[in-house]
Symmetry: D2
Subunit: 483 residues, 4 copies
C-alpha cells in the first residue's frame, strides 16, 4: 500500500481502539473525536495528507525498492549525500507544516526504525538476537506506513547514583516469561509521547550502566495488544479556541506512562532480548544517534525559525526595535538559529557511508547541536517573556472580543502597528509558546530531549578526539607527549 | 469599626456588585461564589480572619490613636524602629499564611496609602493639591479597613522611546472635565491586580518623564463607582481541585484593565490633579518607595522560603541530593534567600525618622533587593524545572487516583521516600509553582514587580553616592579629584 | 612591649634572616631592601605605623588584660558586640590604608590565632593536645605583636577524588619523629603568602576527609627555624615605578612553597599532633571560620569600594556614563558592594557568645558572602575590562611622558575630563587591578580564597537548616512530613 | 620577485629604520635585535621561511597571473571555491605555525588589501577616487610581498554618543593640505599592531556615522615616510626565557599609536580622499568584511585548538578529568571549537562570486562567528583559570630549576603524570595564555577584534533578513502580514 493519507491514518487509529486512560476514564469511542486528542490527530492527519499532495509528493515520498509502492521519505535508507539531503528536506517540510511544534511527527520514529534496521547485521550471530525480524518488520512498517510511539526509559523510583530496584513486582519493564509463542513482559515504561495515538509501540532498552539482562530487549507491538495500557498525564491543552490557545489547541501531543500487564510479544516482533551487552552496544554502534539527531535538529531549526518570527512580530507590535538591549536579544536568537543551521550542514558535509552501506551524517556536529539547543531554547523562551513584559499577562479571551466590552478593548489595547485584536493574538501566541502549561512543557521537552545535559556533556568529553590537541600543546613545550 | 474579619470582607465585596467582565460576560450575583474568583476571595477572607484571631490579634493589629478602634497593623504609621519591625512581622505573618503567593494581600496597598498619607504635608500649598483630603481618606480607610487595588501605569500603544499619544479619544486616563462636584476622568489604566475584588481603586500617576498635566493626579474611588469597569484577562486558574492545582485553585488573583467611562471623582477623594511636577516629586519625596518595598521584600522572602521548601521536598522525593550539581543549585536558592534577608535587615537597621516624623526604612538596601529579586526568582523557577526533569511532565490527575488505574500509578510512580500519590502531589506543586500558566505569571510578576529592570539599574546608578569612591581612587593616583 | 611600629617590624624581619629563595637565588642581606620585597614590606610597615599613630591609636589598639600593654585590636578576643564592631573597624582602617589590596595584612592571621586560642579548651583532655601551649603562645604573640604567615594545604600531586600518596619521601608535611625536645616534621606545605616576610609560620592541618594521623597537627615556629625554606614563585611586580605599576609596586605579596627539611618543633610550640579527629573537629568547632571570614569580608568590602572608585573614574575619564549598558554594569558593582555590606552587618547583628565566652559573629551570612564574593570579584574585573576596551591596551610608560614624544601623547591621548597623563594613570591603574600579572593573581586569589567553590557550595547545602522549609511545604500538601 | 623568505623580510624591516619610540626612547640600530621586538620578528621571519619551504611551497604560494612570480596565497583573489579553500588552508598553515597567537600574521592585511583591490571598480567615476592607484598598489604589494600594519580607528577623547572634536590642532588624522604631489595629513590613528615592524602602513577610514569629509580617505605609505612616528605602549613581554614566558617571549606583537606629523601621501598612494559617502560605502560594499573575517576566524579556530590542547594537558597533569564539572567545562571548549568550524564551513559552502567576479564567502555565518568568538574566548580563558586553581599561582622560574632548591621543587611539585619541571612548564603556559599581561591582552584583543560587541549585535539585527519569519508567524495567526 505505501504512504497513507490523513483519513487512512485517522481511521486506522480509531479502529485500533487502544486502551487509553485520561483523567481517570478510559477513552471510549473514536479517539479522533475526543476533545483532548482531536487537535493533535487532526494535525497529524494533515501531515499524512501533505505527503500525498501532488504538489509535494515527490519531495515527501520515494518508490519502494521491493514493491514499487510510494513510501514516505522518512523510511528511506539513504545511500548517497543526495538521498540524505532529500530525506532532510522532507523532514523540514513536515516540520514547517507544524512550525516544529510537533515533537513526534511520524518521521521521527520512522527514521529511528530505519536506523536500527540499517544496522541489523550488527545483531547477526549474537545470542537472543533476531536481525531478520528487525529487517522484516522494518519492511512491513515501511510498506504500511505504520506510525510509532516509543519508550526508552524506565520509571525511576530513585534517581540517586546507585540504585537497585527492590520491589517484588516489576516496576521497570522486564521479561517475566519466555514461552513458545513469544516473550512475556511486565512493568512500565516512560514517557511515550502520543502513546495510544500510533499504530505501534517501539520498545528499546537504553542503559547507561549495567542493567539486568531481563531488562535488555528491543521489540515492537501493536498499540492495541492485550494487556497494554496508556496512562495519560493531565492535558496541557488550554481549550479548542485557536484565538485563545493557538498552539495547544493544535499541538498538545500528550505523554503517557505505558503499562505492560503480562504482555505477550510474539517472536516475530522480538529483535533481541536478555542480552545486556548487545543492548548497550547496539545503540552506540548502529546509526541510531546519527539519524535520530539529524531528524530532531532539522525540526528544531524550523521551530527556532518560528520562534524568531513570533519574537520579531512582538517587537514590531509594540515598537521596541530601537532599544539596543532588544536588538541584542533578537541577535541572540538569530545567532542561535544560524549556529544550529551550520552544525546541521557540517554533519551532512561530513556524512560518510557506514559499514552497513548507509550514508550516515557525521555525529560530532549533531552532538554539538544536541548540547547547544537545550541551552538555547529556554533562553529564547526567556527572551520572549522579557520582551513581552506585562503584555504577556494582559490577555483577554476570544469571547471578550465578541462581547459589549469589545470597544474598550479596541481602544485600550491597540498596538503601534496592529489593531487590539491582532495585538492580543500576537501576545497570546507568544504566551502559548513560552508561558502556558503547553509552552513550558515544550521548553522542558527541548531541554531534556537528548537526556540529562550533565551526562551528555561528560560523554561528549570522553568521546571527543582530544589527544591530538594535547599532544600538539605538549610538543610546543617540548614535553614527552600527553598521557 | 476597625479591623474586619473575613465574613465582613466577603459580604462587603459581594454587596458592591462591581462591574467585572470575565471572558465576555459581566459577573452577576455574588462574586465570592463565581468559580474564577471564589478561590482567591476565600484566601483573602482567611487573612482577615487571622487578624482578629485571638492568638494573632496582638501581632496583627494596633489601637487607633483617634478612635481606639483595633486597626490592622499595615495601616500603622511607624514612629520607632520597634513599630517598624512590628509592622514587618505582621506582613510576614500574612505572607506565611499564603506562602507569599498572594502578591496583593491587603497590607500592600494599605501600606502604600499610609506612606502617601504620612507625607501629605509635602502637598501643602501646592496648586491643585489637597493634602487634607489625603489625610482624611487615610483615616477613613484605616478605621473601616478598606481594601484596595491600584493602577499606576497607562496602556502603552507603543513602547518606543519617544511616543506621543495621538488618538482623539483618550487611551491613557485623563481629566476631561472639572466640575463643581469633582473631576471627570476618561480612559484606561493597567494592570489592576484583584481589580473588582476590593472596596476601592487607588489611582496614582507615575511618570518617568514629562507627561501631560491632565494625566497627573491621584485619587481613590469606590470600586462600584458609576462608569468604572474591570476587564479581566483570561484566568490562570487550572481548576478547583487542590490536588491538581494546589496553587492556582487558591491564589489566582486576576489582573484587570480598568476602564473609566467619564467617571466622576468627587472633590473629597481628589488628592491632587493637573500638576505634573507634584506627580513626579511626590512619588520620590514621599515614603512610598521605602514602605512599599519594605512590604514587598518581606513577602518575597516568605515566598522564597516556600520555594526552597518545595525544592528540597522534590530533592528528597527522588533522592538526588548526592549530586554536586544539585547541591550547587540548592545552595543557590539558599544564598538568594539569605541575601534578601540581609538586605531587609540592613534597611531596618538603617531606618531613620523622615522629615514627616515617620520611621522610614533605608531605601538603598531595599533598592538593591529590588534589583536582585527579579533575577533570582526566574532562576529559582528554572532550578526547580531542571531538578524535576521529566517528573515535571508526568502528572496524572486527582481523578486518575480515583479510578481503576490507581494500582498502576501506585506501582509505577512510587518515589524513593514517598507513595505515588504523595510523589505526584509534590511534582504537581512544583509544576504549579513554576510551569503552569499560573506559575509563569508568578515568575513574570516578580520579574517586573518593580518595573523595567533596565531603567531600574540606570536609576540606581544615577542615585548612588558614587563620588566618594571615585575621589578616593583619584587620590590614590594623585589626581585632582573626580569630575 | 605590645603593638609595634613599622620600623620595629622591618628591623625584626631583617634580623631574622629567613631562608628565602627567589628566582634560583637565596636572598642575602636585609630583605627589606631587596627589589622584589621592599614594596610590600614598606606597605606593611606603614600599617604598623598607623596603629601607633596618635590619631588612630585608640581605634587600632586596646590595653592588654594581662600586662596593660597597648595591643593591636586584631588580637582582641571580643566579649561583646561593641568589641566585635571595634575589632571590625580596626580591620577596615587597615584595609582602607591598602585599599583592600593586601590579602595578608597582619590582622588576618592575628585574628586566626586569636580564634584558635579562644577555643583552646576544646582541646582539653584530648590525646596529643596541648591547649596550654596554644593559650600561652597566643599571649606571647599578642604581647610581642608577632606577625604570621600560614600554610593550610598540602601539595597535591593529584587532584583526583581518591588519591593516596605513594612517594617514599614525604611530599605532604608529616611528623617523621617524636623526640624529647619536640616533634620533627618533613615535607612541604602550600601556599604561604608573604612567606619569609613574617616572624612566624603557623601550620594547621585542614583535612576534608580522613587523613593520616601523622599529617594531623597544629603548631607555630619562627620563620628562621633551622631547616625551614621559603621557595618563592615568580614575582608579579611589574617594576618599582608607581606610575607604571601603581598596585604591583606596592602590594605584590609573594606566595611561597614552604619546605620543612626535618624541622624540629619544640614541645611548647605544639598545639596538637597525631590526632586526626581533633584536626577535623577543631577547625569546625572553634570560632576559626566565623572570625577569619569576618576579617576577610571586611577587607573584601573595602577592596570592592576601591574597585568601584576605579571603575567610576574610568567611566568619567572617557565619558561613557550615558550608555544604559554601562549604567547596568556599574549598578552591578554597586549591588555587589551593598550585598556584601548587608551580609557582614547581619553576621554582626546575629553575633552571640559561644560556649567559650567569645562573641562570635553568625557564620551563615559570612558563608553566604564567602560563596558570593568569588563570583562577584571576577565579574567586577571583567566589567572594568569591558568598559575600558582598547584603552586597557594603549598604555604608554612613565618614561614616555618624560621624552620628546610627550607632546604627541598629550595631544592624542587627552581624555574628556583629564589630561593625557592623568588618563593614562587611570587606565594603568585599571589595568594593574584587572589585567597585569599582579591583577589576575588578585582575581585568582579572591576566587579561591575560601577554597574550592564546588565543595563550599556542597558543604553549605548540607549544613543549612533546610528541614523546616521542606516540612512547611509538605504540610501545605498534607504530606506526612519530609524525610 | 614574489614571495620572500624570513631573512629578506627581516633585512627589509631593519633597513627601513622606522621611527619607533618605546619607553621614551627611539629605537636605534636594527630593530630585529632590539630585546622587545626580536621575539616577534623571529616568529614572523619563520612564517616567511615556511612559504618558501619546498615542503609547503605549493600550499602557501601561487604563480602571479601577471609576472609568473611565486606569490603568497594570501594575496590571491579567489575565483572559485577551490581557490577560496586553498587560500584558507594557507592561512591555517601559518596560523598553526604560531598556534593562532600572532593576531597580525602577514596574511591578515594582505587579504584585506586584496579584498579592497578586488572591489576597486566600485570607486570608478566617483569624486576624489582613484581605483587605478588601488589596483596598481595591490599588484606592487603582491609582487614584492610587502607587509602591512593598519589603523582603522581615531583616538577617542570621549566615547559618549555625541561628540564633536573641538581641539584646534587635529587629534584624529585629517587631510590638512592638498598639494601637487599629494595630500598632507596630520593627526593620529590607533591602534596599529606591529606598527613599525612592517613595510607599509595602510590607513582606511571606518566611520559609523557621518564624519567630516577631511577624515574620509584610504591610502598606504611606507613605514619610514617622513613625519611618521610609531609610539609603542608598554611591552607585555615578560622576558626572553621560553620556560618562563613561553608565549610572550615569542608572540608579543606590540601595539602603537601612529602619529602623522604633516605627512605627505603621494598621489599614486591615495585610493580616495575627502569623500565621506564613499568611505562609508566602500567598507560595506567591498568584499572587505567577508575576506577579513574569513581569515580571522580561520586563525581563531587554530588558536582554539591550541587552547583546548593546553586545557587538556592541564587536566591530565593534575588528574582532574573524573570530575563532572571539569568534563562540562572541557566540553564547553570543544563545543565552541566545533561551532566555529561549522560556521566557517557554512561560509565557504555558501560562497558565491560577487559582482566583481571574486568568490566571496557568505558573510552571515562569518558575522555569527564574529559575535560568538568574543564571548567564547574570555570564557575559555576563565575555564583554564578555574581548572588550574592555585597551580596558576605556584610558578617557580627557570632559574629556580637550575639552583640548589631544584630537589625541593622536583619532590614537592611533581604532577600525577609529569615531572615537576614539566608540570611547571604546563602551568606557566596556561598562565601565559590566560593570566600574564600578555595573556590578558590576548583576551582583550579577541574580545574587541571586530569592534564594540553591542554595536555589532545591533548591526547584525538590522541586517538580518528577518521579515520572512515575522511574516510566517503572522500568517499562522491570520494577520495581515508584518510591518
Amino acid at each position: 500500500m505505501g504512504a497513507i493519507d490523513g483519513k487512512t491514518y485517522t481511521h486506522r487509529i480509531d479502529q485500533l481502539n487502544n486502551e487509553v486512560w485520561f483523567d481517570g476514564k478510559k477513552v471510549e469511542g473514536p479517539i479522533s473525536e475526543h476533545p483532548v486528542f482531536k487537535g493533535i490527530l487532526r494535525e497529524k492527519a494533515a501531515l499524512y495528507d501533505l505527503q500525498l499532495n501532488p504538489e509535494f509528493q515527490n519531495d515527501m515520498t520515494f518508490l519502494s525498492p521491493d514493491t514499487g509502492n510510494r513510501i514516505g521519505l522518512s523510511y528511506m535508507q539513504p545511500k548517497s549525500l543526495e538521498e540524505l539531503i532529500k530525506k532532510r528536506k522532507a523532514t523540514a517540510l513536515w516540520a514547517k507544516q507544524t512550525h516544529g511544534m510537533m515533537g513526534r511527527s511520524p518521521d521521527y520514529l520512522n527514521t529511528v526504525l530505519m536506523s536500527f534496521a540499517s544496522s541489523s547485521s550488527f545483531l547477526e550471530g549474537k545470542e537472543n538476537c533476531f536481525p531478520e525480524n528487525l529487517t522484516a518488520f522494518y519492511k512491513l512498517a515501511r510498506e504500511k506506513d505504520l506510525s510509532f510511539t516509543h519508550t526508552f526509559i524506565s520509571p525511576q523510583v530513585n534517581r540517586s547514583q546507585i540504585y537497585i530496584e527492590s520491589s517484588k513486582e516489576p516496576i521497570a519493564l522486564k521479561v517475566v516469561n519466555v514461552k513458545d509463542d513469544g516473550i512475556v513482559v511486565k512493568g512500565a515504561r516512560l514517557l511515550a509521547t502520543q502513546g495510544g495515538l500510533t499504530d505501534e509501540v517501539l520498545v528499546v532498552s537504553v542503559g547507561r550502566f549495567l542493567f539486568n539482562e531481563d531488562e535488555a530487549f528491543a521489540f515492537s507491538i501493536p498499540s492495541n495488544t492485550e494487556g497494554l495500557r496508556f496512562l495519560c498525564r493531565d492535558t496541557f491543552m488550554g481549550g479548542m479556541s485557536r484565538f485563545d490557545h493557538p498552539l495547544s489547541s493544535r499541538f498538545e501531543e500528550m505523554d503517557t506512562i505505558v503499562a505492560f500487564d503480562n504482555v505477550l510479544v510474539p517472536w516475530d516482533r522480538v529483535f533481541y532480548f536478555n542480552n545486556g551487552e548487545v543492548a548497550e552496544e547496539f545503540i552506540t554502534q548502529s546509526s541510531f544517534h546519527a539519524f535520530a539527531k539529524h531528524q530532531v535538529i532539522t525540526r528544531q531549526i524550523v521551530k527556532t525559525e518560528f520562534l524568531l518570527g513570533v519574537a520579531q512580530l512582538l517587537v514590531e507590535t509594540i515598537k521596541i526595535s530601537d532599544y539596543p538591549h532588544i536588538q541584542e536579544k533578537m541577535a541572540e536568537i538569530m545567532v542561535g538559529l544560524e549556529t544550529m543551521r551550520a552544525l546541521l550542514e557540517k554533519a551532512e558535509n561530513g556524512a560518510a557511508p557506514d559499514k552497513y552501506g548507509v550514508m550516515r551524517p557525521n555525529v560530532i556536529p549533531l552532538n554539538v547541536a544536541s548540547l547547544t539547543f537545550p541551552k538555547l531554547y529556554p533562553r529564547f523562551a526567556e527572551i520572549i517573556q522579557i520582551m513581552g513584559a506585562s503584555g504577556m499577562i494582559t490577555l483577554p479571551t476570544e469571547n471578550a472580543f465578541h462581547s459589549p466590552i469589545r470597544k474598550d478593548l479596541d481602544q485600550y489595547l491597540q498596538g503601534a502597528t496592529k489593531s487590539a485584536e491582532d495585538r492580543v493574538k500576537v501576545f497570546r501566541l507568544a504566551w502559548d509558546l513560552t508561558m502556558s502549561s503547553f509552552g513550558t512543557r515544550e521548553t522542558q521537552y527541548e531541554r531534556y530531549f537528548f537526556g540529562d545535559p550533565v551526562r551528555l556533556a561528560s560523554q561528549f568529553y570522553w568521546d571527543y578526539p582530544k589527544a591530538p590537541y594535547a599532544d600538539a600543546a605538549g610538543e610546543f613545550l617540548g614535553l614527552g607527549g600527553a598521557e
